[in-house]
Symmetry: C2
Subunit: 338 residues, 2 copies
């Protein structure tokens, strides 16, 4: 069971190993210290969360008292994804407005039972991208899209948990870019087996935060903040992550665990953030294009998908303008193999 | 790069930890020794395959010379899945006859481009079941089915590998039971996002074997042996794993790696084994039921799906009757939570 009062900010530092080094980050996000020899990696912490997270928190409190003087300056360039490789990445689609616009794009009805149970897919979790690493794709014709999303990382979740129990299994909250190759999606989904090639590696903001550290910004098992997306330095969207959602994270986890356990370190997403208000912009290019189409822009004048050299920036801003998870800041690199 | 000449049999022993202890298994499958302090787990070996697998092999050779006297008796009851938790489990469907019969059952056409590129889905990899652990389901009404399959475990696979390069990334071959909840499949696939609840945890035979250890039983990047399935002690099927396949493992891996890297320890399956010859029986109950239907058995007289207490046994027999991967031998337990 997780402790909802835990107040921790964690990240993973590139150190040449596959899993990196677990970093304890200061509440200001400006300083960091190694989590120490007893818990070397994020996965190791999640494996033993009930014992080690409270220990880390008491260490964090001492550091707060001493002003983090022994710490070093936090630099997101040094960060890997909080979990550089994970045993599970399961993503849902709980934003009604996103479903509405995306299925308009696909020219298909919204999937059956969309309002009755979370619509989920099993994503690839073997390699996650750090906040400043490039989005590498092999062909612009694959229509490279960003998708700004919130996810949680769980402790162990037994099969058949209730929604209430599922809420207690949420260890950390993260911000991510679920890069999608829109050009490959229709062909893959037509086969009926879900996404594979169309969902390349996912990118993560550097800092994973406990629900307790979010304070009032964690509400009804959702992040209660807007998420800001910038494309090449310009505002692209700023939808609120807790607006018009069909299901919250506890409900998604309970759905996932109906016939299976989830092991500690499972990453569970809520899908592309989307608000009905067009003023909020979009958290993916496809949705922005559908909105343009609906407002009469001709097909050949719609905004383009991501191109070589484009820069994507995603962050969630707290009430005092602070970057809660740090920022994703990535450049697109089109790189044909061979 | 893997070394095709490597001759290793490996397993994972339950020791109270999440990843177990890596076991070096004798060529006879009768004896084992700990792989030693430098490579404690299967994942650690795969992470550093090029360096550590040859070291393990030279140790295996010394043990062969001394008759494995220092070893202990190999007991599959002590085994976890070879990789108890994995960063990826991607499964294909390459047996033409299985596709033909299954889509007959679904009353749908075989997916588009089935012969042009491997049909694959992203499976859940966070928790794998050992060879003698029960198949736990919450409801017989979910229609619990077995699926006997061969898979490979890869080393690191870069994005965009050729088929030839992909073949060199195959570290190990494994035998598994891809348990499926047939009753949940139509509802999930109708949503278009693939399997989730309908594919609970997968079970594995205890011994993972290098292609080099398979000798002539590894042919054209496929296992060239029949796989025997028994249900409650009776022969259920014995289809050959290298008969009438659309794609081999190198082709599947190259397809998976088109837009993504695969990290070391990715498990890549070929789908439910199936032969056109009805005498070979079936590797899943659904297929056997479709065959019964086609031969005129009325719906209410078809053989049932798995029930509480049923026993499933799966093994692959070498030319001298030896169990190449050891046997999966599981009992079904229906266990409603709460």
């Amino acid at each position: 069971m997780t402790m909802p009062f835990l107040d921790l900010r964690l990240a993973t530092r590139r150190n040449g190993s596959r899993d990196g080094e677990l970093m304890l980050v200061s509440p200001s996000g400006q300083r960091w210290l190694s989590a120490g020899p007893t818990v070397k990696t994020m996965q190791a912490l999640l494996d033993n969360w009930a014992l080690q997270a409270p220990e880390l928190e008491s260490r964090r409190r001492s550091l707060d008292a001493s002003g983090w003087n022994e710490g070093e300056t936090f630099d997101p360039d040094e960060c890997m994804a909080p979990l550089p490789r994970a045993y599970q990445w399961a993503d849902a689609s709980v934003y009604r407005n996103h479903a509405r616009l995306i299925y308009q794009w696909r020219n298909e009805p919204i999937p059956p039972r969309y309002e009755d149970e979370p619509l989920v897919y099993q994503g690839g979790s073997d390699g996650m991208i750090g906040p400043r690493e490039p989005i590498v794709a092999i062909d612009e014709a694959h229509l490279v899209d960003l998708e700004a999303e919130i996810a949680v990382i769980t402790t162990d979740v037994p099969m058949g948990v209730t929604i209430e129990q599922a809420a207690d299994r949420i260890a950390l909250v993260v911000l991510l870019n679920d890069v999608s190759l829109r050009g490959l999606i229709p062909g893959e989904l037509a086969k009926g087996f879900g996404f594979y090639q169309s969902k390349p590696a996912t990118s993560f903001a550097p800092v994973a935060v406990t629900p307790g550290a979010l304070g009032p910004a964690w509400k009804d098992c959702m992040l209660d903040l807007p998420v800001r997306i910038e494309l090449n330095g310009e505002r692209f969207g700023e939808p609120h992550a807790n607006s018009d959602v069909v299901f919250n994270f506890a409900q998604i986890i309970a759905h996932l665990a109906r016939t299976r356990c989830l092991v500690a370190g499972s990453i569970v997403g809520a899908g592309t953030i989307s608000n009905a208000d067009p003023e909020s912009g979009s958290a993916c290019i496809t949705e922005a294009r559908v909105r343009e189409q609906l407002s009469g822009v001709p097909l050949d004048r719609l905004r383009p998908y991501l191109r070589h050299g484009d820069r994507v920036r995603i962050c969630a801003m707290g009430p005092h303008g602070e970057h809660v998870f740090g920022a994703i800041d990535q450049q697109v690199v089109i790189h044909s193999p061979g």
